[in-house]
Subunit: 724 residues, 2 copies
């Protein structure tokens, strides 16, 4: 198993955000494993999906009257794989080495009672809050004991896969709070805070949204007023609506926050800036004077994340707590603004890109569960696998394709942003030249994929019938956890408008003779594109060529942008074009993702090209199929072409359906991470499901309220059997 060069990879990017973590330490294998044999066995445990040790349940004794068909059904699916699943696992993970390190991280987690719980879905809110913090405390401890940086990173990533609440708590501290400091803090501030943050002595949160204000940042009300006499800023929430709201970690945990505030000096406003504000005593956990903060309480999902609210009442902080890499206020109260306001919003870009990885890490789990259940569940007069029904494979296969799009494009965008982050440190002008496009990409893609992710989850839920209504089959929890992504981090409608404004502006620039770059480069050819007013595809092969299909999307985007721009030139009624703009922006994002995907799969081993191409084709046809109304309305395609698209789309779903299990096995989620009996890798779903229920608290009665609430009705002696 020990391949030359295996451990020498020089750096590693955190795939679910990727902004600031580039690590160079070599892995010391022997620091974590006693023998190659042990390691080999551990890997084998994960590779063999039938292995019972991996599942949530202990090895089950045979059950009377239990002769399941699932194991043979799912084995047959695997036997029919059209490609090498091991190779796909490596490609998916970013390489064989990454795959194997991930395996080790999962093993560490699965064995540690502080990192897992056997009653994940039965936790109350207080229990979930505590469990998630316990995971963090323990994960820091475990990490401190590991020698290899890649394994440290994998440990946190795998825990984030195991629990979205863990992911979000770490995300807030590490990728919002710390990131704000990294991007906006001066070298002195970095030196002051970095180690405390790294060691979690400071637990940080990110206070942007307010009760009455969200997507429109300039409308935020919290003030930071300079008090020259004391060389301090006074942080204040002037109204109820100014209460910072939804702030992750603010409910119970955070010792500090970065807060975005309106900066006021000598009664003069200087716009919004970032300030570090202490919230709680690190030794007692009590709120500091001037700070009121409470827990946000019950939510749709993410019960382990203590979202909260914060009111500041003349809280005082040193002047030097203004994050002052780009802006500064000197001792005399002179305000030195940022060279370009755009740098102040940079923190939102990685926040949005990170959701791409969240998609395949979280939504992907639901897709695996639905895919496996689909080939194990049999129903109907012919006792068919439900996956063989047309309605079923057309429902699920585009979801599988969507996950491939997210995984593969995510790497490219992560790399792009990583390079830009270096520019931000070293060459701010080059950074700013690219920032507009990256901002538009991150905003639009965040909106596009979070909506599609929500749709995917609902498809998966319905594909599992009633059994996905059980929390124990994981999908309800994933839906709740995911829900916030469509409204938080910038409302999707608002974000797509930002992308739309960027595209219309770029189209205008091109008309003025300037050159478009990045995701909008295709607008340079706008005139040429529109010169061909109808689609010339005359056979199915054209529709199977991803670049060609992207040409169709290109035409539609350019056409619609042009029409909107013309209409807006006549009357500046932006609001009357909102729906058209947002839909066009979404299409632009799909075509950009397809562009990136085509580039991304070139890096795959040749033997994987066929299935990967099919996933790209399926996604492309999914998008076109959803745009048939617009393409027909614009008379770009004929009704005959529309029928070809529809038939081909369904046929491609049917053809790729035979790889449904292999394609999703490649994502290598262990059973203990999926947690869903009906998504068990070995296909023996019903016994695992039954055992889960029997082990749940309160499974067997009578319930505690029997005497008080039931017996007064059911006991004939108490409920007047002989009365009228």
């Amino acid at each position: 198993m020990c391949i030359p060069g295996f451990w020498q990879q020089s750096h590693y990017l955190v795939t679910w955000c990727g902004l600031q973590i580039r690590c160079t330490l070599p892995l010391s294998l022997h620091s974590i494993m006693t023998s190659p044999l042990e390691r080999l066995n551990s890997v084998r445990n994960h590779i063999q999906p039938q292995n019972q040790q991996l599942s949530q349940q202990p090895c089950l004794a045979p059950i009377l009257g239990h002769n399941p068909t699932g194991p043979a059904d799912i084995a047959a699916e695997r036997a029919g794989a059209s490609f090498n699943v091991e190779k796909m696992k490596y490609f998916w993970a970013g390489g064989k080495e990454e795959y194997e390190i991930t395996e080790i991280a999962y093993q560490i987690i699965q064995r540690d009672p502080d990192l897992t719980t056997s009653h994940f879905f039965d936790q109350t809110r207080p229990e979930a809050r505590e469990f998630t913090m316990r995971q963090i405390r323990r994960a820091v401890e475990v990490r401190n004991n590991l020698k290899d940086q890649r394994l440290k990173t994998a440990l946190f990533r795998c825990l984030a896969t195991y629990s979205e609440s863990f992911a979000m708590r770490i995300y807030v501290h590490d990728l919002l709070f710390r990131n704000a400091l990294n991007l906006f803090g001066s070298p002195e501030q970095l030196a002051e805070w970095q180690e405390d943050i790294e060691k979690f002595r400071v637990l940080g949160c990110f206070a942007m949204t307010e009760l009455g204000h969200s997507s429109f940042l300039r409308g935020l009300e919290t003030t930071a007023t300079y008090d020259r006499e004391n060389d301090e800023f006074i942080i204040h929430s002037p109204t109820l609506e100014a209460t910072k709201w939804w702030i992750g970690l603010a409910g119970q945990t955070a010792t500090h926050t970065v807060a975005i505030c309106q900066t006021i000096i000598d009664s003069k406003p200087h716009g919004i800036n970032w300030f570090i504000v202490p919230l709680r005593s690190p030794t007692t956990g009590r709120l500091l004077p001037g700070v009121t903060a409470g827990d946000i309480g019950a939510k749709y999902g993410r019960a382990g994340l203590d979202n909260g609210w914060i009111q500041f009442t003349h809280a005082r902080i040193p002047r030097t707590n203004l994050l002052s890499r780009w802006v500064n206020v000197d001792r005399d109260g002179n305000y030195h603004p940022a060279p370009n306001p755009a740098v102040m919003y940079a923190t939102l870009i990685p926040e949005r890109l990170s959701i791409m990885a969240g998609t395949w890490m979280l939504v992907g789990q639901a897709v695996v569960i639905a895919a496996r259940y689909g080939v194990v569940r049999r129903q109907g007069a012919k006792d068919q696998k439900i996956m063989d029904y047309q309605s079923h494979y057309v429902k699920l296969m585009p979801c599988v394709a969507f996950m491939y799009i997210c995984n593969i494009t995510n790497r490219l965008l992560t790399t792009q942003w990583s390079e830009m982050s270096e520019l931000a440190q070293n060459d701010i002008h080059s950074y700013l030249r690219k920032a507009g496009d990256m901002h538009a990409v991150s905003a639009g893609i965040k909106a596009t994929i979070t909506w599609l992710g929500a749709d995917t989850l609902e498809r998966c839920r319905r594909a599992c019938g009633g059994h996905a209504y059980s929390s124990y089959n994981a999908i309800p929890g994933i839906i709740g956890d995911w829900g916030v992504t469509t409204t938080g981090g910038g409302d999707n409608i608002v974000l797509l408008q930002q992308t739309g404004r960027y595209l219309i502006g770029t189209l205008h620039d091109v008309a003025q003779g300037r050159q478009a770059a990045g995701s909008a480069a295709y607008l340079n050819d706008a005139a040429t594109v529109l010169a061909q007013p109808t689609c010339v595809f005359d056979n199915e092969r054209d529709w199977l060529n991803i670049e060609a299909v992207n040409g169709v999307l290109t035409w539609l985007v350019v056409k619609r942008l042009q029409a909107t721009a013309t209409a807006l030139a006549a009357s500046d009624a932006w609001n009357d074009h909102l729906l058209s703009v947002t839909r066009t922006s979404e299409l632009h994002c799909h075509r950009h993702l397809l562009d990136l995907y085509v580039a991304g799969i070139r890096e795959a081993p040749v033997e994987l090209h066929a299935p990967l191409l099919n996933m790209g084709r399926l996604y492309a046809l999914y998008v076109v199929e959803g745009s048939l109304d617009a393409l027909l309305e614009e008379e770009y395609i004929t009704p005959k072409q529309a029928r070809v698209v529809r038939d081909l789309y369904i046929r491609l779903c049917k053809e790729t359906r035979t790889d449904a299990v292999p394609l999703t096995d490649a994502w290598a989620f262990p059973d203990f991470v999926l947690k869903a009996p009906i998504g068990r890798a070995d296909g023996d779903i019903y016994s695992a499901y039954m055992e889960t229920l029997r082990a749940a608290p309160g499974c067997f009665g009578p319930p505690p309220y029997f005497e008080q609430q039931i017996r007064p009705l059911t006991d004939p002696a108490l409920n007047g059997k002989n009365e009228a």
Copy 2:
């Protein structure tokens, strides 16, 4: 207030199912109210939406820094109503009397501490289970003390509106268990069980679905084997997959179930039948011998409903527990089958129709919340009401229209089914002649509106931005509660196929010269319809004529049915047409709903016709807009017509938006039922929201786990401040 004839209404139909409850007792006003003045005041409390007593929150003292814009904003919306909202309330409720009785029922509930809870969304699963049973026990007690049958009915209906878990527990006992007995039980059996059921001495559930079998009833495995020697049936679950699953009330509560089983006599199968099987002791709550039953545990929603599972192991019941209205097994074991097997499925029809009322009772609450929030929330550079954004009113107004469709068509279908139920008692042949159509209607409409309901809820959630991620704003709970409707009670894909088969069969019958009736009567004109291959509408007025638009839908349905029938005649590959069939069936249901709606609004006061017509037009255009791809593909409409539809649809959303609040006020949900601070009737949303959070358990820290899980990290003395 006391209008002649007011209390003399001769009967009342339960609107959320309506099958068996026709009540004739007159209301004795003085039995429930001490004086007319008191009653007048109570009604006024409910009519004035600003009244603080109705809200979840106590009257709030002025808050420093709180100068809300919401109250004036929502008042302005009300002032701009284009119609008389009081009149609409009466029409919505089914009459002024019904409206006022509903008010009284709500008052009873709001004042009774056993019927409500101040921490609805903070309940753990065990608390929710207990609370719901407490409501039932108390509701029975309160009901027994009321003299007026209509108020008794209203009490239960209003409690069902307050809590979906209450609704479902009652529904299972009253409308599944009791209904099965009513439909399938012999007169002797009715006499034996009816009073116990009415008094809740017997708490009944309905055991149909099994772990491995659901929509395909013939595949169910549980057996009822006749033991001639003992004159008993032996009920048995032969396999793990035969475990009855998802059975409401089976988890903790039910003393009895009706169970659907394969009837076996002398080793010979006689198909499925219904049996009454005792489950638990009514005095101890313990399981009876031969019965294993447990709680289903954590679910997506409906935490107060104890879904459960049941395994029978040679449980013995008397032969006379076979429900024997239509079938019978005599003492010698001779099986006397039903005259027509269709009667055995009749219980599914009211089950499915009842979801229509569930839509406006439950989904409607989310629509009210979103509508109110939309006009109170301001955002953006111009600080606009978010409802004024194009994306927003186009998102929400079709949801408002959908509720009107459900409420008004629901009455007509309820009446139709009520009449059919009487036929089932008195004229089985007439009943059976109509049963096929009603079955197809109930199946298709159940599927169509539950999907649309799910979509509506997600729209409402997103329309409230991040604040609908809070459980305290009710929408997450409604989404969870609603989720099961799309997969339970028959999977929607399966149901739409049933409707599709019925339609294709009817089309075939028509071609053979037979006459179609009921919902499919329009198929009699199939040939005429198809003889006009293009849409002749040449102006907007045509598209505002609901019947005319229904003609467009008719054309599309007939065209697609015809195409499918032709394709199926050539090759019996039903599976290759599944998607086409389900989509066509959905369209058929929409057009049927529109048909019913047009008939239904004729009963409304003339002054309400304008807003009601607009709701119908909006729904019709919503459906057509979603079918533009198909209409263009079939070349029935031109691209120009498509643009007219799209523009008109958006414009109608914009025009009706001015009535968003009046249209939803008319549904008269009290604040304590909605439970959502952001949906408060008085528009002062933020202070109520803040107070809700401050009152939630565990709002203020430090959390109980501070010493164990947080301090080891944050306390510098414990986390090696001076180490490397």
